[in-house]
């Protein structure tokens, strides 16, 4: 894969200031709206998920039925195995005509506008935003509000040129002018070209939704209608189709239903029941439905059926921190992580890498915002695994390193690394962080980047010989994770202080291996499984009641990925991994729901704000940390805007895409600075590191703390940091 292609795209995206500003306003407004609307429709996501699972699982038969029903209704049906076939079919009908077009992702997929224009056709976009862009020769800055990067004055300029009338930036006047101008094309055009939100197999119906009314006009005025859509849009019943279309509105724009929903089941007509009068109605007398099949069946065959559950609602884009920064450079034809996954099957794995396979930060915000709950980060990881399969030397190195970690040789290396660290970095006051003496920007390590220090004593060394609690209510494993063990061991000590004060016996094992997330995220599944295996063996032998964690990234591995990785293992390992997963939890959940907080006797006077780590939100834990903070006397909590917005770390992401990680981080820093709190508290050591770097870049003196440190203060008293 040519790395520079992706690097250039990211650079372009980061530099496109106008587009970025516009896009972020759109995302904020629409994102909030969508979240509220989704909260008001409980059960809708589950319903849509079930419909899509069923539809995609039986796609060939469903397509057959849909084709038959559409034909029964008098439609022409063409299933295109490739984009070329689709373009050829459409070209034959519309080749050199005047065509009015409404929004279509499928149309974009086959580049229909460019290809038709090459054949001599004239294509007029009828959606206002798309038309403005068409006239200005501009790309779309957002799928739903494509021309939002233009000011009203600029739009006036563009439309004045088109209509030959001088206009000012009054939106109402501009809309009126656009309406008149486009109405003429709509009246004159012989062909209408649209997409479809859903196709119903039982009734042979096309369902399309919108707010402007241009789709009703495109499908209601010209005598020929061509609908382009993917085979994955087919659903069994009309009720299913309605659910899909409503979900697209709820999750995509935050509306409970689009202003217009059209259900089209064949050409319009009158009569036809007998020998008597029959003829074409006011709408199209000829309807063609062109299905795009390229890449879809391949995705299903290779185990990525979930990628086809997408409704193209854009809900994921409303919340993706990477899309926020670089827009349509993330993805290819279809945007964001879901677009990258689709590209792997529609084009190739190499193309998917160029589209941004490494750009998914793994924050999982898209899953929550998705109408069908699609697990895009998981599919991205599985595709990354395919890319590393072919990389021999790298795989070999990783394999050797993993074996070393399993055999607990890592701490020895890191101890040696401490000496190198002293030479290569200069420590900053406070002790937690340092700066490289010579920057390595190519590795995401510029000289300005705050880097965590390897601790002078690792956790094992700090707690060596610490007596275990004699009388205890529960016995728990403490899975500390690499960052806690080697960089922030004081957090591990804090955890021991807190839990032991609540009469909990804690087992922290020296031989603990890395949880495996960095390997899994990079695509090294087998190696991650080796680490999982080792850890499950270690943790299971203690007969502990629970496993407690203070790193949510590790917790996500323990609870979700280890069972998945060890599913096929024998020797009871699969069962053990499930048992461990069930009884594993974040410290905030453990304290508020199991252990209690009676030992919180001291207060910690601070004005704080709280950052929700993405992995903790992914585990459904956001209320418990706040309850925990409430139980600590003296704390004044000021919530930041978008507390659950990603900090930008993403582990390895912050090294392969440091500038992107910093941009995301700077937004987070802004919201933290705005609270005026003295500390930002969070539940993840990874977030802590990046938050510190981001706040440093923002010139803020605010400090970063882990929630367990505050809990420890409440238990032991003292000033803390």
């Amino acid at each position: 894969m040519n790395n520079s292609v992706l690097k250039n795209k990211v650079r372009e995206g980061l530099d496109d200031e106008a587009s970025r500003l516009a896009r972020q306003i759109a995302m904020t407004v629409i994102g909030l709206s969508a979240r509220q609307a989704a909260a008001g429709c409980p059960g809708l996501k589950e319903k849509v998920r079930a419909i899509k699972e069923q539809s995609i699982a039986g796609l060939p038969a469903l397509m057959e039925r849909a084709t038959a029903s559409l034909k029964e209704n008098g439609c022409h049906v063409f299933v295109a195995s490739t984009s070329e076939e689709a373009v050829a079919y459409i070209g034959k009908i519309a080749g050199n005509k005047l065509i009015v077009k409404s929004k279509s992702n499928a149309g974009k997929e086959i580049e229909i506008v460019e290809r038709l224009e090459r054949l001599g056709a004239r294509v007029v976009e009828t959606d206002l935003g798309d038309r403005i862009n068409q006239l200005a020769g501009s790309g779309a800055s957002h799928p739903l509000a494509p021309a939002i990067h233009f000011t009203a004055e600029k739009v006036a300029e563009i439309l004045s040129r088109e209509t030959g009338r001088e206009m000012q930036g009054d939106a109402k006047e501009l809309v009126k002018a656009a309406r008149e101008s486009l109405r003429r094309y709509l009246e004159e055009a012989k062909v209408g070209l649209s997409g479809a939100n859903a196709v119903v197999a039982e009734t042979g119906s096309i369902i399309i939704t919108e707010n402007e009314g241009n789709i009703r006009a495109v499908t209601g005025l010209p005598e020929v209608l061509i609908v382009v859509t993917g085979v994955e849009k087919v659903v069994p019943t009309l009720d299913d189709g309605l659910a899909a279309v409503r979900a697209a509105a709820v999750y995509g724009t935050g509306q409970d239903i689009g202003t217009y929903v059209s259900v089209i089941s064949g050409p319009t007509r009158y009569g036809g029941q007998s020998d008597g009068l029959q003829g074409a109605g006011q709408g199209p007398s000829e309807v063609h439905v062109v299905f795009l099949a390229e890449g879809r069946y391949r995705a299903i065959k290779e185990g990525f059926a979930e990628a086809l559950y997408c409704l193209n609602c854009g809900g994921c884009l409303n919340v993706c921190p990477v899309y926020a920064e670089i827009g349509d450079r993330f993805g290819y034809k279809y945007l964001g992580g879901r677009g990258v996954v689709f590209t792997a099957f529609h084009e190739s794995l190499a193309r998917a890498e160029e589209a941004g396979l490494t750009l998914c930060i793994g924050c999982q915000k898209c899953m929550e915002a998705c109408a069908a709950g699609i697990n895009t980060p998981e599919m991205v990881r599985r595709l990354r695994a395919k890319t590393v399969d072919g990389q021999r030397p790298l795989k070999g190195i990783v394999r050797v390193a993993t074996a070393a970690v399993v055999e607990n040789r890592l701490p020895r290396w890191l101890k040696s690394a401490r000496a190198v660290q002293k030479a290569a970095t200069k420590r900053l006051p406070g002790g937690d962080f340092a700066l490289l003496r010579i920057g390595l920007p190519g590795l995401g390590l510029p000289a300005s980047r705050l880097l965590p220090q390897l601790a002078s004593r690792f956790l094992g060394e700090m707690i060596h010989g610490r007596p275990a609690v004699e009388k205890y209510r529960f016995k728990v494993n403490f899975f500390a994770g690499c960052l806690v063990r080697h960089v922030l061991p004081r957090l591990g000590v804090a955890l021991l202080d807190v839990l032991e004060a609540q009469a909990i016996r804690v087992v922290a094992q020296e031989e603990e291996a890395c949880c495996g997330l960095p390997l899994l995220a990079a695509g090294f599944r087998e190696e991650a499984a080796a680490l999982a295996r080792r850890n499950v063996e270690l943790l299971s032998r203690e007969g502990a009641d629970f496993t407690v964690l203070i790193c949510p990234a590790c917790a996500a591995m323990v609870k979700k990925e280890w069972p998945r990785l060890l599913e096929e293992e024998g020797d009871g390992l699969a069962e053990k991994s499930v048992a461990l997963a069930t009884a594993a939890m974040d410290i905030s959940q453990f304290l508020t729901e199991i252990a209690g907080m009676e030992s919180f006797r001291h207060s910690a006077e601070r004005r704080i704000t709280y950052h929700d780590p993405c992995h903790l939100i992914g585990l459904g834990v956001s209320e418990q940390p706040r309850r925990l903070l409430q139980a600590i006397g003296g704390l004044e909590l000021e919530e930041m805007k978008m507390a659950d917005g990603c900090c930008g770390f993403g582990g390895g992401f912050s090294f392969t895409h440091y500038e992107l990680a910093s941009r995301i981080g700077s937004k987070k820093a802004e919201t933290i600075v705005h609270t005026g709190a003295s500390h930002v508290v969070t539940g993840c050591p990874g977030c802590m590191i990046h938050l510190a770097d981001s706040l440093h870049r923002a010139g803020s003196r605010q400090r970063v703390a882990h929630i367990v440190e505050l809990a420890a203060l409440a238990v032991r008293g003292g000033e803390g940091r």
């Binding site: 009734t203 006009a217 239903i257 202003t259 009068l277 109605g281 006011q282």
Partner: protein, 341 residues
Amino acid sequence: MRQDIAAARMTVVHDLPDLLNEAGEKLTKNGCRVHLAADAAGARNVLAGLLQGEKLAVRSYSKTLQEIGFDELAAGLNLKVFRTCVAEIVMDRLENNRAGYPPLPLINCAREETGRALQEELGAEGETSDLAELGRLLKDRIRENIIGSGVGVTGVNGLAAETGTLLLAEEEGNARNVSNLPPRHIAVLGIEKVHGTVAEALAAVCSAAAHGAGQKVPACISLISGPSRTGDIGFRLVYGMHGPREVHVVLLDNGRRFLLQQGFGDMLQCIDCGACQDMCRRMALENGWAGLFSLTMKGICLALVQKRIGPPEKTGSDEVACPAGIETGRFKQALLEFSRL
């Protein structure tokens, strides 16, 4: 499916006042203007006000528009109204159509008859006797008028209270254009047309098509939830991008609440599917009823209550399986009851 629809309709009638409130709120929230009309005269008043200043209106076929005497009102206002439904135009000009006609298949119309009807309609333009050509000419004229009109007036097949959504179902596609191309849209409906959810409304509308026109689903269903809008220019919300900037919804009572109050609300469960059409036509013929706007059990009850028709002498022994759960026996009871008034 039939049981679901009947059950849903029973619930609607049972909750009618609350549903109408909800519908009104949602319609208003969507940007529609809601008008309540106690009777036909009230509806005509509202429309007269709304149509002031308009030169040309287009309308689709609607029994409710007939019920309130829309065409006559327009004539009185000197407003030109162009009918856009070919089936209605042809049927209206045919001699043997008398008693009104829910969902319109142009069945049993001989070619010569329809040819003559079209020639009449087209006037000077209709010089040919080629049926296909006549049809094309009429289609073009309809299209011109819709495009040139300032206001489109339609009925409504259903109104979903859940979201304030109007449902229009048809074969010809004219109602879609009438409700989309002119800058203003007026929709008139009887209050019994309300449903709970969009899904229920859609199911009822499709069920009606299945019975009435004998097909799985109408060729074109439009779900309308407010005026056309765009925020594409600087997020400034502007109405009337391609579709109408104004949508008026007139909710007509005209005896429906009376039916409910008199304990015959089940007559309002009707979804206008036409399953009882034959029975109702026979009854109309046998009793010499003219001026029925709707050949349904509901329509006959309303006409009786509105005093458009006199009490029946014969009710016959027909039984109809009504998808909306209206029992023929109850219908005949209602006739007796209202005849006494």
